[in-house]
Symmetry: C2
């Protein structure tokens, strides 16, 4: 079988805890996210289901930390509902706020339920140079890029 | 989120090596199968992609041996082609022959490529009573139900 024309994305990103909420969050776009994990291998390889507002998807990821490979497909509601029960006990719920910041976009995740109180900012970069140059805004706290403790796979464990 | 109305299947099956090919195989329905694994957890939980002739699917399974839970969705060709490359190095290829046998159906898998020479029969039962009563036909060899060595996940490891 041949490789598809559609190539996979490779994310370059950094993650930080949040020290205090920025005022910009009050007028930013946001939506609820529910995600659950079908299977997680040691080493970070996993298959995730996600519901983002009305949009449902299945994502394959391999690798951890600042650089990893990702393949995603949209699911119909029927496809999603068939698979979702298999993620019981491996789910997390959060609200994501999207805050434009210079030429980048900061994603702020406010976790719910058992992860209540956790707030994380994620910044995705177009390239490694941009990643290096990045100066975190003042409301960012400690950097947690690559810390397994804050991986969504780990946070979803109930 | 509520459980879907569509409930998952729970397979009751037995697996055997094949001692010799039965004559029935020559006029039986058959098709090529390619399957690859997106992620496998210890304990048998996994997500599989399958192409069966022109039909493509994604299957979640948990548990091993004679009784396990399974959830399956059909994939469009575009969905399948996006995910398939992620199974590189974790694939297997076989031809499946379906042989009606009394009120049951025997599935004979003839493996290809690196598993060339391996032939396995699988019988699925409607209930545990039927499973117990089953008398294997003469062309069956040793029973391998639940033997990890012959699991498809294992055979797909390259």
């Amino acid at each position: 079988m041949r490789r598809p024309h559609h190539v996979s994305s490779r994310e370059i990103e950094r993650k930080f805890l949040i020290r205090r909420l920025p005022v910009e969050i009050l007028r930013s776009r946001h939506f609820r996210l529910a995600q659950g994990y079908l299977a997680n291998e040691r080493g970070g390889r996993h298959v995730r289901l996600r519901r983002k507002g009305g949009a449902m998807s299945l994502t394959f990821k391999v690798g951890r930390g600042s650089s990893r490979e990702e393949r995603e497909i949209k699911l119909s509601p029927a496809q999603f509902m068939m698979l979702w029960p298999a993620t019981r006990g491996r789910r997390l719920h959060k609200t994501r706020y999207e805050i434009p910041w210079k030429k980048l976009k900061i994603e702020v995740d406010i976790y719910h339920r058992r992860n209540h109180g956790l707030m994380v900012a994620e910044v995705e970069f177009p390239n490694h140079a941009s990643r290096r140059k990045f100066k975190p805004p003042r409301w960012f706290g400690r950097e947690i890029t690559g810390e397994k403790r804050y991986s969504n796979v780990r946070l979803a464990r109930e």
